[in-house]
């Protein structure tokens, strides 16, 4: 009987104003009943042309613009850009500054993953995780604020170091935060990780194999959830990561739950990294030789780091002047999102929300 009922495919717009798209993202979804036949992301609503803006600014003037790309990981955006300048200019960084950078970068990764934890819960109908995540993230923002005065857009990294040394009391406060976060992580797990509804909504949903994830150029926790242990901090170590003891978090399953679990494990690893860096921080006063007026030699450089969202690359071409001839921002969110259509096909609309949530995209970085 039912096979004689004719049903047409329905095309619907999800977004650009939709709470589950994490910003201004539009998905053109083709549905057969409740099943996703195709999902095409339409991006660019937040495009500001930052690569063109870079050509019109001096190297130093562009640092605050990087804060506005992945605005949940501004420290990491600073790091990628400044790292490229240092590599091309052969600028040395004092060891104390490198340790401070690692502390900031890993605190930033935790802060970003805490938002992911909360948003993932919200996407699936659980509101309390968001309050938990935001509560602990507040402690990290306090640490950032006492260091550089800002809570979101830090403008903290400089070629040759950072804009200022750690303030008095930072180390004590950071250690207190680490202790508190470790105590509270089991509560996070009680609330979401072990929750039967959450597991039912994520386990086995939106599976992508390692081979396919690599072929789609995916990176970050979204790739490591498919069992590929690719992390730029280990593959091409920068700063002082090679002096610290930590593990790359991976899960073999390739499903939505695996991508969630990788990030939860990364919070723990980052806490270990911050703790070690605080202990190994060389004492003394920070003295950075940041050039006031910076010209880079003619040539090009590609520098990449592991941001909260994956392989973040900066390709810089210099013609010898005081501003970039060409700057390319390889944003992991953008490239990961390219695989969404493939991963959502065949799943229900509600699963599409879960799968997109597990990508942890930031539209400021997708659209640039």
């Amino acid at each position: 009987m039912s096979s004689r009922i004719k049903t047409d495919l329905v095309e619907i717009n999800m977004g650009p104003q939709h709470p589950s798209t994490h910003g201004v993202l539009r998905l053109e979804v083709t549905l057969d009943g409740e099943v996703v036949v195709d999902a095409k992301p339409d991006v660019g609503y937040l495009h500001r042309g930052i690569e063109k803006l870079a050509e019109m600014r001096t190297y130093i003037q562009f640092i605050p613009v990087t804060d506005r790309l992945d605005y949940l990981s501004s420290m990491l955006q600073n790091a990628a850009y400044v790292g490229a300048i240092e590599k091309l200019g052969g600028i040395e960084v004092p060891e104390r500054a490198e340790y401070i950078r690692v502390i900031m970068m890993e605190l930033q990764r935790i802060a970003s993953h805490l938002i992911f934890y909360g948003a993932m819960g919200l996407d699936l109908g659980a509101t309390t995780p968001f309050l938990y995540g935001m509560r602990e993230r507040e402690d990290i923002l306090d640490l950032f604020e006492m260091t550089c005065g800002a809570r979101l857009t830090y403008n903290y990294f400089r070629p040759g170091g950072v804009s200022r040394d750690l303030p008095d009391g930072f180390i004590k406060k950071a250690k207190a935060y680490i202790k508190k976060q470790r105590e509270r992580l089991p509560e996070y797990d009680d609330l979401l990780t072990g929750n039967q509804i959450f597991i039912a909504r994520t386990r086995g949903i939106g599976v992508i194999s390692a081979e396919e994830a690599v072929n789609y150029s995916m990176s970050g926790p979204t790739l490591r959830g498919s069992g590929v242990a690719y992390d730029v901090r280990k593959a091409d170590p920068y700063s002082v990561y090679d002096k610290l003891d930590w593990n790359v978090a991976t899960r073999p399953e390739g499903d939505t739950l695996a991508r969630y679990l990788v990030r939860m494990q990364e919070i723990r690893e980052s806490l270990n990294i911050v703790e070690q860096a605080l202990d190994l921080l060389p004492p003394g006063k920070l003295e950075c030789k940041t050039p006031q007026r910076l010209r880079l030699p003619e040539g090009e450089v590609y520098h990449h780091i592991e941001s909260s969202r994956g392989d973040l690359g900066v390709y810089l071409v210099s013609d010898g002047s005081d501003r970039p001839y060409r700057l390319k921002w390889r944003s992991p969110s953008f490239i990961n999102l390219g695989a969404l259509g493939r991963m959502a096909r065949g799943w229900k609309v509600a699963d599409l929300v879960a799968i997109l949530g597990s990508f942890d995209i930031v539209l400021g970085e997708v659209d640039r």
Binding site: G44, S217, A235, Y302, R330, G338, A339
Partner: protein, 147 residues
């Protein structure tokens, strides 16, 4: 490492390599654009090369030409390679490499959108960041920014 990669390319495509250099220890190969897809297939499928990861595609406007730059990695060995092709600035066109790496689909669309390079045989070549009725290619050096 660089020598063996270069040799593998030259063995497979004797006339394709126009120039090579090393930047930050990474082999850069300037290719004849017509050989691009073949070389990419070789890089990905030949077991001793196995460049399974397309890290980045971008383009530079040098005023007299447009250069497209491809960056690949072998995730197991962390070997890297950069391929470069020079295109006619008046009519920049090159074959798409989506058939080799799916990750190229969005990256080529971005290069098309912002630099105006047409990728032949691309499955869905449309603007991606700018609206579909946008005029011009903003990352070209002679682009005039509208008021």
């Amino acid at each position: 490492m660089s020598e063996s990669i270069e040799k593998a390319i030259r063995d497979g495509f004797p006339d394709a390599v126009l120039e090579t250099s090393e930047i930050d220890g990474v082999l850069n190969v300037k290719l004849d654009p017509n050989a691009l897809v073949g070389v990419c297939e070789l890089l990905r499928t030949k077991p001793e090369l196995a460049f399974d990861y397309l890290a980045d595609i971008t383009a530079i406007d040098w005023l007299d030409r447009i250069e497209v730059v491809y960056r690949m990695t072998n995730l197991a060995t962390n070997a890297k390679i950069v391929l470069r092709v020079d295109l006619d600035r008046e009519r920049p066109e090159v074959d798409s490499i989506v058939s080799v790496w799916k990750g190229a689909e969005w990256q080529e669309r971005e290069v098309y959108d912002l630099m105006g390079v047409a990728f032949r045989n691309h499955p869905d070549l449309r603007r991606i960041l700018l609206p579909e009725d946008w005029e011009g290619y903003p990352l070209r050096k002679d682009y005039v920014i509208p008021d």
